[in-house]
C-alpha cells in the first residue's frame, strides 16, 4: 500500500451505485472523479417505470439524487468518458481518462433543446430500447444531468459528411442555438487524475434474447424484452405510458412473461439466477393491469418463483391472490408467430405434470437476465481483476465489496446480478471501505466555497429586483417578455425589473450581482425555467452578492408556461405575469433563513456484537471514529458462532474469531459485552445511551445490528425426536461428527418451515441455499446416502444456482410440495416416515428418514420493539426494521443518524450481512464526518403564544422532529431532524406552527393577489 495516500476516489459508472458512492464520499470529505460512458448520469434506473416492491416511480425517487450528485462541488463528473489506463497501488493510483467530444459546450448549453428541434436526423433511441426515435443532437432523457444536449457524431450530418470535407453541411443546430454552445470542432481529450482508491460499478447489460432463437425475439414482433416493456409502461416512454404493442399500437389484452430468459441456463454458460426477474415480471404484470383501461390478462411462465427479498413474498401473494396475475409453473419450449395474422405470439409449454399446452398472447415479454457489460469486462481486464466464469468480478470472500486488487472496490452488478437496494447498499459499503482506506487524507482535496459577509436586510424597505428571461426564443418566442417586465414594474415592492436573453448565463449572473448592489435590491425574482433545476444557481448568485439565498423566488414561465401554451401567446403572457406576481409576493415576504448548526459527537454506538455489528464497528473504527460496541450476550459473534462454513466454503469459525480479534484489539473500539441497554435519548449528533450497568455513552450516530432469531418449529415432531433438527443444528451436528448424522443413510430436508406461512408471510431467503449446501455435504461424504429435499420453490438465487444444479446432478432428489399439501412426518415404532405428494408422479410417496432437517424460518429480533421505542424507528409488520426507503436508503432509518444492518433488517446470508454492515458503517461515516449537524433552515417553527400543546404536529411528523414539551406546554421543533415538509403546519389548527419559506402568510397573500 502506498505511503502517499490521496484523498480522492475514482468511481467508474454513474448509475445509481456510482451516484450513491459519489455522494457518500463527497459528503464525507473526499474528492470524487465520476466517470460515465454515456452522455448523462443515471444508468438503468431512469429507464424503469416503477420499482418493486413499493411501486415507487423510478424517476421520481432518482431525480433528487441526480441533481444532488450533479451539483456537488466535490464530485467531478466526466460524461462520454472511459478509463483507458491505470497505474499505482492502493492509496495512490494514476488514472487516465479519455473523454469523447460532445460537440456542445456544457458551460454554455442551457438544455433548452433548440438544437434537437432543428436537427433533421432521426435515429433509434437507445434509451427507449429502440422503440422511439431521437435526434442526432439529443439528451438521453429529460431529467438528465448534465442538463445539456450532445451530438451523436456517428449520425450527425455535419460530422459524417461535412466535417472531413470542410463543407458546411446542415449545421442547423448551430443556427438554432442562441447560446452559442455548439462547437463541431471539439476534439476528444485525454487527461490524468490521481486517486487513492477506485470504486467500479459499470453495471450490466441485459441478455441478448435473440441468442435463443426458440423465443422468437427479433423475428416475432409481439415478442419483446422486459426492458422494452418498462419503456412501454413509462409515462416518459415512446407511447407516453399508453400500453400498446409497439408495432401496431394495439392495446394488448393478454400478455405473457417468460422467466429465466438467459438465466439458469447451463447450455449457454449462464448457469446463474439473475435474481431480479421474478420480481420485475410480477411488477410489470401488476402495473400493466393498473395502467390499462381495459382488462388485461397477465400470465407468468416460470420454473421457480423466486421472491426472497424483503416484502417480496407479500408482493407475489398480492399479485396472485388479489390482482389476478396467473402463474404457470412450466417449461417453455418455443414461441411462434400466431397463424391468424393477428401479430400475436403462441407459447408452447409443458406443465409440471408433463402436459403439453399452447396458448396465444397479444404480447410476450421475455424476462431477460443480467450479464456483465462489455465495458465491465474491459475494466476487469485492464485492472487485472479476478473474474468468475461468467465474466462478473469475483469479490474476496466475506468482504462484501473488495475486488482481488487492494484499494479497488466493486458495487452493483459488476460482481453479479443485483437489485437496486443491494446495489445501493454495496455502493455505500464501497464508499465506506474507500473512506476507511483513505481516512488520514479526509478533507485534504475537497473545496468549500467562500462568500462575502451577508448583508443585513431585516427591517429595510423591501426592494425587489425582477429578471424576466427570454431563454433565447424558448420563452420570448411565445411570451411577450417586455410586457411582463413592464407589468412587474407596477407591482408593490418592485424597485427594478429587466429582461435577460439567458438569465442563467455567466454574464447575466454577473449583471444580477452588480444590480443587487447598485440598485440596493434585497429581494430577487427570476422568471425563467424550473426552480427544480435552476434555483440553486440563482441562489448562488445571491450569496455571491452578499444576499441571503432565501430572499429569492422563481416563476417558471418556460416549462410550465411558454412550452405548454405555444399557440396561445396572449394567454401565456397573462399567465407569465400572474406567475411573476406570485413569485414577487412570496419573495417580498421572505425573510433571511440561516442554516442551523448543531454540535456533532463523532463517536458511534453499535448495538449487537454479531458479524454485522463487528463488521460495522471495524469499518467505522478504520474510518477513524471511536466506536462503542454493545453486546448483551456474554460473548461476541452472535449466531454465526454456530456456523461451520459460509456459502462459498469459507471457514466461519476462523472468520468470526478473526472479527472478534479485530474488535478486541482495535484502539478505536470500546467493547461493552454482557450488558444490555436501559435507555436512549437524543438525536443525530447528540445521543446518550444508558447501559444496564448505569454507564452513559454519548454518541453522534447509532447502528442497530441486533440480528434475528431462529424459528423454533412446532411442526414435524421437532423437539420430540432428536433426529429432527433445524439447519443450524444439523450444521453443528455435522461439524461435531454427531453419530446421528454420520450413521444416517436417508436424509430428508423440509423447506419453508415457518416461512411463507400465514404467521410469517415472508421468505427467509437463505434456507434453500443452506439446505442445498448441507445436502451436498452429506451426499459427498456418503455418496450412497439417499438425500431428499422437499421444497415449494427452490430459491437458489445468484450463483447458488450452480449448487442446485450440482446437487441434482449427483443424485440429490428434489420433490416439490404445495402450500396446501405439506409433507407429513410420522413415527411408526421408532421409524420416522415422511409422506409427501410428488407433483410429477401425482401420488404420495413415503420416505423412511434417519435424519430430518427443517429449514426453520429466520424471525425478527425480540428486542426490536424496545429499540423502536427508544430510537423512534419503525418496524414492519413482521417486526423487522423498516428502512427509510426500500430502494434508495436501504440502511438508513427515517430517523436521522440511526442505521441498520444484518438480519434485523431482513433475512440474508453472511456475505450480504457483511455488505450491509459495511454500508451502514459507510452511511454512518458520512454523518460522523460532518463537523456539525447542518440543516438548511427551511424548517418548521413554533409561535409559543398560540400553541396549545395538542400534539397534532407531533403525530403527523414522519421525521419525528416535533415533540410537545409538556412542562412548558408547547411544541418544540428539533432543527436537526426537521425535513421541512410542512405537514405539521397544515395540520395545526391554532396556526402555531409554520414553515420557513412557505408560511401561511405567504400563501394567503399569494392567494389574495391571484
Amino acid at each position: 500500500m502506498s505511503q502517499n495516500k490521496i484523498g480522492s476516489v475514482l468511481i467508474v459508472g454513474a448509475g445509481i451505485a456510482g451516484i450513491q458512492a459519489a455522494l457518500d464520499l463527497a459528503e464525507s470529505g473526499y474528492l470524487v472523479h465520476l466517470v460515465e460512458e454515456s452522455s448523462a448520469i443515471g444508468g438503468t434506473m431512469p429507464m424503469l417505470d416503477k420499482t418493486f416492491p413499493t411501486n415507487d416511480c423510478s424517476m421520481c425517487i432518482l431525480s433528487p439524487k441526480l441533481v444532488e450528485c450533479g451539483r456537488h462541488l466535490n464530485v467531478r463528473t466526466y460524461t462520454n468518458s472511459q478509463v483507458v489506463k491505470t497505474e499505482g497501488e492502493a492509496g495512490n493510483f494514476k488514472v487516465t481518462i479519455k473523454q469523447k467530444a460532445r460537440y456542445i459546450d456544457l458551460e454554455k448549453c442551457t438544455g433548452c433543446g433548440a438544437c434537437a428541434e432543428a436537427c433533421p436526423v432521426k435515429v433509434d433511441d437507445e434509451f427507449n430500447q429502440g422503440l422511439g426515435k431521437r435526434k442526432a443532437a439529443f439528451k438521453q432523457y429529460s431529467q438528465a444531468f448534465p442538463n445539456a444536449y450532445g451530438i451523436d457524431e456517428k449520425n450527425c450530418l455535419y460530422q459524417t459528411r461535412g466535417k472531413a470535407k470542410g463543407k458546411d453541411i446542415c449545421l442547423k443546430c448551430v443556427k438554432a442555438c442562441q447560446a452559442g454552445a455548439i462547437d463541431h470542432q471539439m476534439e476528444d481529450k485525454e487527461f490524468e487524475v490521481e486517486v487513492g482508491s477506485m470504486i467500479l460499478n459499470p453495471g450490466f447489460k441485459i441478455f441478448d434474447a435473440s441468442r435463443l432463437d426458440y423465443y422468437g425475439y427479433g423475428k416475432i414482433k409481439s415478442v419483446i424484452t422486459s426492458l422494452e416493456f418498462e419503456r412501454l409502461l413509462s409515462a416518459s416512454g415512446p407511447f407516453d405510458g399508453h400500453l400498446v404493442r409497439p408495432f401496431d399500437q394495439k392495446e394488448p389484452q393478454k400478455i405473457a412473461w417468460i422467466q429465466c430468459v438467459g438465466s439458469r441456463n447451463a447450455k449457454i454458460n449462464n448457469n446463474y439466477c439473475s435474481g431480479v426477474c421474478c420480481m420485475y415480471a410480477i411488477k410489470e404484470a401488476v402495473i400493466a393491469k393498473e395502467h390499462s383501461h381495459i382488462p388485461v390478462d397477465t400470465t407468468i411462465f416460470y420454473m421457480d418463483m423466486r421472491t426472497p427479498g424483503k416484502d417480496f413474498e407479500k408482493y407475489y401473494n398480492n399479485a396472485k391472490n388479489n390482482q389476478g396475475v396467473n402463474f404457470i409453473r412450466s417449461r417453455v419450449y418455443e414461441v411462434t408467430e400466431a397463424k391468424d395474422d393477428s401479430g400475436d405470439a403462441c407459447i408452447r409449454y409443458s406443465t409440471e405434470d408433463g402436459k403439453i399446452c399452447e396458448d396465444q398472447f397479444d404480447l410476450v415479454v421475455l424476462s431477460v437476465g443480467l450479464e456483465p457489460g462489455d465495458s465491465s469486462k474491459e475494466l476487469a481486464q485492464m485492472l487485472d481483476l479476478k473474474v468468475n466464469k461468467f465474466g462478473f468480478a469475483e469479490l474476496e470472500p466475506l468482504s462484501g465489496v473488495n475486488t482481488s486488487k487492494a484499494g479497488v472496490f466493486a458495487a452493483g452488478a459488476f460482481s453479479g446480478p443485483r437489485d437496486i437496494p443491494e446495489t445501493v447498499m454495496q455502493a455505500s459499503a464501497a464508499a465506506g471501505a474507500a473512506s476507511a482506506l483513505l481516512s488520514d487524507e479526509r478533507g485534504t482535496l475537497v473545496s468549500e466555497k467562500e462568500y462575502p459577509p451577508e448583508l443585513d436586510v431585516v427591517g429595510d424597505v423591501i426592494r425587489t429586483g425582477v429578471f424576466i428571461c427570454h431563454c433565447g426564443v424558448n420563452i420570448g418566442g411565445v411570451v411577450d417578455v417586455p410586457s411582463v417586465v413592464e407589468y412587474a414594474k407596477t407591482l408593490p415592492t418592485v424597485a427594478y425589473a429587466t429582461d435577460k436573453i439567458y438569465a442563467c448565463s455567466q454574464d447575466a449572473q454577473a449583471s444580477i450581482k452588480a444590480l443587487i448592489s447598485e440598485q440596493k435590491l434585497n429581494r430577487i425574482v427570476v422568471s425563467s425555467c424550473s426552480p427544480r433545476t435552476h434555483e440553486p444557481l440563482f441562489q448562488e448568485t445571491l450569496k455571491e452578492a452578499g444576499l441571503n439565498a432565501h430572499l429569492f423566488d422563481m416563476a417558471n414561465i418556460r416549462d410550465q408556461c411558454s412550452w405548454v401554451h405555444m399557440h396561445e401567446p396572449e394567454k401565456a403572457t397573462e399567465k407569465a405575469k400572474d406567475l411573476t406576481k406570485l413569485a414577487i409576493v412570496r419573495a417580498s415576504m421572505q425573510q433571511p433563513v440561516q442554516p442551523i448548526f448543531m454540535s456533532m459527537n463523532h463517536t458511534a454506538l453499535v448495538i449487537g456484537g454479531g458479524v454485522a455489528g463487528m463488521t460495522s464497528a471495524v469499518s467505522l473504527a478504520d474510518q477513524g471514529y471511536e466506536v462503542h460496541l454493545v453486546e448483551k450476550d456474554n460473548a461476541l459473534g452472535g449466531v454465526a458462532r454456530r456456523f461451520s462454513t459460509g456459502f462459498r466454503g469459507e471457514d466461519m469459525k476462523a472468520f468470526v474469531a478473526g472479527l472478534i480479534d479485530q474488535v478486541s484489539n482495535h484502539p478505536n473500539i470500546k467493547l461493552h459485552v454482557g450488558v444490555g441497554i436501559k435507555d436512549v435519548g437524543g438525536f443525530l449528533g447528540n445521543f446518550t445511551t444508558t447501559l444496564e450497568n448505569g454507564e452513559q455513552l454519548a454518541h453522534g450516530v447509532a447502528l442497530l445490528t441486533i440480528g434475528g432469531q431462529e424459528y423454533k418449529p412446532k411442526e414435524y415432531l421437532y423437539g420430540q425426536d432428536d433426529r429432527v433438527m433445524t439447519q443450524i443444528e444439523m450444521d453443528e451436528a455435522i461439524y461435531n461428527h454427531d453419530p446421528k448424522v454420520d450413521n444416517a443413510k436417508n436424509f430428508v430436508f423440509i423447506q419453508c418451515v415457518g416461512s411463507r406461512s400465514d404467521e410469517n408471510p415472508y421468505c427467509s431467503r437463505t434456507c434453500c441455499t443452506k439446505s442445498v449446501k448441507l445436502a451436498l455435504k452429506v451426499k459427498k461424504k456418503n455418496p450412497g446416502a439417499n438425500v431428499f429435499v422437499l421444497y415449494r420453490d427452490m430459491r437458489t438465487y445468484g450463483y447458488y444456482e450452480e449448487d442446485y444444479e450440482e446437487a441434482r446432478r449427483i443424485g440429490i432428489i428434489f420433490v416439490r410440495y404445495s402450500e396446501n399439501a405439506k409433507p407429513v412426518l410420522s413415527k411408526e415404532a421408532d421409524t420416522l416416515v415422511v409422506t409427501v405428494t410428488d407433483h410429477v408422479l401425482d401420488r404420495p410417496i413415503e420416505i423412511e428418514a434417519d435424519l430430518v432437517c427443517l429449514a426453520a424460518a429466520i424471525k425478527a429480533p425480540a428486542d426490536g420493539k424496545k429499540l423502536s421505542k427508544w430510537f423512534k424507528i419503525p418496524l414492519n409488520a413482521e417486526g423487522f426494521f423498516l428502512e427509510a426507503h426500500m430502494k434508495l436508503r436501504p440502511v438508513d432509518f427515517s430517523t436521522d443518524g440511526v442505521f441498520m444492518a444484518g438480519i434485523a433488517h431482513s433475512p440474508k446470508n453472511m456475505e450480504e450481512v457483511v455488505a450491509q454492515a459495511k454500508a451502514a458503517a459507510g452511511r454512518a461515516g458520512v454523518a460522523l464526518s460532518q463537523d456539525q449537524v447542518e440543516s438548511a433552515g427551511l424548517n418548521a417553527f413554533v409561535n409559543k403564544r398560540k400553541c396549545t400543546a395538542c400534539g397534532t404536529c407531533e403525530a403527523v411528523c414522519s421525521a419525528k422532529a416535533v415533540t410537545v414539551d409538556m412542562v412548558n406546554r408547547v411544541a418544540v421543533v428539533n432543527d436537526a431532524l426537521c425535513k421541512g415538509c410542512g405537514a405539521c403546519a397544515s395540520s395545526c389548527r391554532c396556526g402555531a406552527i409554520s414553515l420557513r419559506g412557505c408560511t401561511n402568510e405567504q400563501i394567503v397573500e399569494m392567494l389574495n393577489s391571484l
Binding site: G241, N556, S958, S987
Partner: protein, 155 residues
C-alpha cells in the same frame, strides 16, 4: 381577482385555477409536460409547496372565497412521498374538505385533487385539461362563496 372584469360577448370565459403542486412529484411532472411540449390550457396559477402535506385545507377555502374559479391540488402518489408520509396525512384532509364543500353546494368539479408523479408529464397535462374543461363548464365562481355585491351584509 378583486377587479371587476367586463365580459364582452365574444370573449370566451377562461377560468382561473389556483394550483398547488408539491415540489418533488407534481411540480416535476408539470416540468416534464413542458419538456415534452405537451400543450394544455393556460388556466392554472401554480403555487409550489414542498409537499402536498403542506396544503392546509383553509387554503382551498381561501382560494374559493377569493374568487378563484377552481382549485387543483396535486401531490406524489401514495408511497412516493419525498417526506415518507406527507401525502398520506394530506389525503384525509383532501377527501374531507372536498366532500364537505360539495355538501354545502359547491360544485364538485371546482376542487380537484390528483396524484401526478415526476414521470407523468402527459398525465399532468391531461389533468389540467380535464379540470379546465369541467370548471369552464361550470362558469365563473358565483356560488356559495360569492356574495354578489362583494361585501357588506348580504345580497
Amino acid at each position: 381577482m378583486g377587479e371587476i372584469q367586463v365580459e364582452t360577448e365574444n370573449k370566451k370565459y377562461e377560468p382561473k385555477i389556483a394550483a398547488f403542486l408539491c415540489n418533488w412529484c407534481s411540480y416535476a411532472g408539470a416540468d416534464l409536460a413542458g419538456v415534452g411540449r405537451i400543450q394544455y390550457p393556460a388556466t392554472i396559477r401554480t403555487i409550489r409547496v414542498p409537499c402536498s402535506g403542506r396544503i392546509n385545507p383553509l387554503y382551498v377555502l381561501k382560494a374559493m372565497a377569493n374568487g378563484a374559479d377552481g382549485v387543483l391540488v396535486s401531490g406524489c402518489h401514495p408511497g412516493d412521498c419525498h417526506y415518507i408520509s406527507g401525502n398520506y396525512v394530506a389525503r384525509r384532509k383532501f377527501a374531507l374538505i372536498k366532500s364537505l364543500l360539495n355538501h354545502v353546494g359547491l360544485e364538485e368539479d371546482r376542487i380537484s385533487f390528483s396524484w401526478v408523479s415526476a414521470a407523468e408529464g402527459g398525465r399532468f397535462a391531461e389533468v389540467v385539461k380535464g379540470v379546465t374543461e369541467r370548471v369552464s363548464a361550470l362558469g365563473p365562481n358565483n356560488g356559495i362563496f360569492k356574495v354578489v355585491d362583494g361585501g357588506a351584509a348580504d345580497e
